[in-house]
Amino acid sequence: MSILEEGHRTMKIGRIATIAATAALVVAACSSGSTPEPSAGPTPIASLGATEGQKINVLAWPGYVEDGSYDPDVDWVTPFETETGCDVTVQTFGTSDEAYSLFTTNPEQFDVISASGDASLRLVRAGYVQPVNVDLVPNYADIFPALKDQPYNTVDGVHYGIPHGRGSNLLMRRTDQVSPAPDSWSVMFEADSPYKGKVSIYDAPVYIADAAVYLMATKPDLNIKNPYALDDTQFQAAVDLLKQQKPLVGQYWTDYLKQMDAFRAGDVSLGTTWQVITNLLQAEDTPVPVDVVKPKEGATGWSDTWMINSKTKNVDCAYAFVNHLVSPETNAAIAEWFGEAPGNSKSCALTADPNHCDIFHANDDAFWQDVWYWQTPETTCVDGRTDATCKGFDDWINAWTEIKG
């Protein structure tokens, strides 16, 4: 055999050997599962131990867990760390899907997560979060009753987290580019809107619910009772509305900083937003002229829950931190910083702006009647219908890709 052929044969042997080794590796990886099984008969822990020296990793919405890195005066983490000896690291995310994906790819990395209703049930069903013993969280007693025992934080009577606060998605406009002041989502949905290419919408499949909310008011004959419970006809109507909206859309945002950039530069004039984004824009050195409103059709919103990883090794610090976040003072600080209604009823007396709770309707149950908290749609209709099957979240995800084209 010539040297060339010898070399080729050796290479071939080597290649075959390594491919065989790789295949063995893959088979081994496939057979060992690292994803947790959904827990059967969940029982929460009965008591807590010492918190000294534990480190927790918190996965939170931007603005929920401020440790002084955005603004040195805005910090409710360092006092907690000094008091308990825990060490807290925060990571933020843009959408519930991003949070869920972060959790599934690193099931043991995050000890505490702020989960909106469209992530909380997925986390429970996949077994990523543990049931919570509310007796070990003293501040739970003061949480608004309207937030307790909700379908997105309690499953079969078992609590899976501590309610945080709630807010509504809002319609923001550049006051110098949009007049008159809109009071309806129609400026963002109707084909004759004068703001083509200047609309900024949330880039997540859950936005289909926003279209459904608009249809609840404009097309009552579709009989939509819950924007997360959409059967075939209702879902198709929502998808068609969003395809009709497409020429208006200038930006799909997941990163709140990108939406701020777009409003500041004037790339967009209208959009769905969170109050915190408006607050930050108005508080800039050169304030950006923006204004928000909850349109008359209602809106989607969120009600968040602090959940604890089922595999956390720092459960004592996790409980202590969650208790701290829903304490009257901290909950008031978060609610004011982010711009939402606090979860703790005692926070209303502690906000710097005495009207905060009134502005955000913390005590006003009527306000929340037309705010539909983010929820994961399931094939068993979440509005309780048994005579129809609804579109599950997978259908929403597929439809969203198609709508964006």
Binding site: E6, A21, T22, V26, T104, G250, T401
Partner: protein, 299 residues
């Protein structure tokens, strides 16, 4: 008087000595051992991850628990083949990759020609550094800079305003095209420069001796000789555009293959894995064609 010297006793060979002599006699095994670590590591890491990606493409996601169901099925491929949006996005991405490649080639060729054949050695050195300098800046910084330039109150609009025009803004394919051309231009200039440099000056003199004007020489001597280099550069521009998701995200709102994969990576990993095989297949085809055109010798 001669006496036969007693043979010098050989030391008993140690284990290491025995091993080295054995390896010396079996050079195939020696070669295998030498290359096994680096090549094996590369193959396990690179092909191993591709293999895992490939296997994931045949799994599905449980709609209730959102966990991956490890049973082999072709569902994902059926969905990609039958749903319109995946075809639209693929065609859009391939079209953009082709457009960017052609644009980069048209812009890069004159620059590379000047560098290779006209510039004095000193100017050439300065210009090569100038061409390479954008590569020193972070990719993200460049993408965001274009976002700022193309934005409503950005530099482009203020330059065009007195002429009554306005820039493409941050929607649609135009800003993506501009940014990609800017980002990948150095990758096109350098291979073409190398290819043009290799053309011996004697060929050009021969061509003019045979009566060829400048344009004829260019068309019939320089271009065919430089074409493999253009194809080599196009490998970069085409593949980098095909897989990119950050630039469409940053300067526009359209979906490319990378964006669909990125979104599904969070929500439906098996589908993302299946869709990733599409640009992989496209690039394999492209590389086969490029090899036929001689690009690999020109790299």
């Amino acid at each position: 008087m001669t006496t036969a010297a007693p043979p010098i006793p050989q030391p008993a060979p140690s284990a290491v000595r025995r091993l080295t002599s054995w390896l010396h006699r079996h050079d195939r095994v020696r070669l295998l051992l030498l290359i096994s670590l680096p090549v094996g590591g590369l193959i396990i890491v690179y092909f191993g991850s591709l293999l895992i990606l490939f296997v994931n493409a045949f799994w599905t996601k449980d709609p209730f628990t959102s966990l991956i169901v490890r049973e082999l099925t072709l569902d994902n491929f059926v969905k990609i083949a039958t749903t319109d949006v995946y075809r639209v996005v693929t065609l859009r991405t391939v079209g953009m990759a082709a457009l960017v490649t052609v644009t980069c080639a048209l812009i890069a060729f004159p620059i590379a020609y000047y560098l290779a054949r006209i510039a004095s050695p000193r100017k050439r050195g300065v210009l090569v550094v100038a061409v390479l300098m954008p590569l020193w800046a972070s990719y993200l910084i460049k993408a965001y800079s274009w976002r700022i330039i193309l934005s409503e109150d950005g530099v482009l609009n203020s330059l065009l305003e007195p002429l009554g025009l306005s820039g493409p803004g941050l929607t649609g394919e135009a800003p993506v095209w501009i940014t990609f051309v800017y980002l990948w231009l150095p990758y096109m200039i350098l291979p073409i420069y190398a290819g043009l440099e290799r053309i011996p000056g004697s060929l050009l003199e021969a061509s003019s001796d045979l009566g060829g004007h400048a344009w004829t020489t260019f068309r019939r001597v320089i271009l065919p000789l430089a074409f493999p280099a253009v194809v080599a550069g196009s490998i970069f521009t085409f593949s980098l555009t095909l897989g990119d998701y950050i630039v469409p995200n940053t300067v526009s709102n359209v979906q490319f293959i990378g964006n669909v994969i990125q979104v599904n990576q969070a929500q439906n990993l098996p589908l993302a894995a299946a869709y990733s095989l599409v640009p992989l297949a496209i690039m394999l085809l492209y590389l086969l064609v490029a090899r036929r055109l001689g690009a690999f010798e020109a790299l």
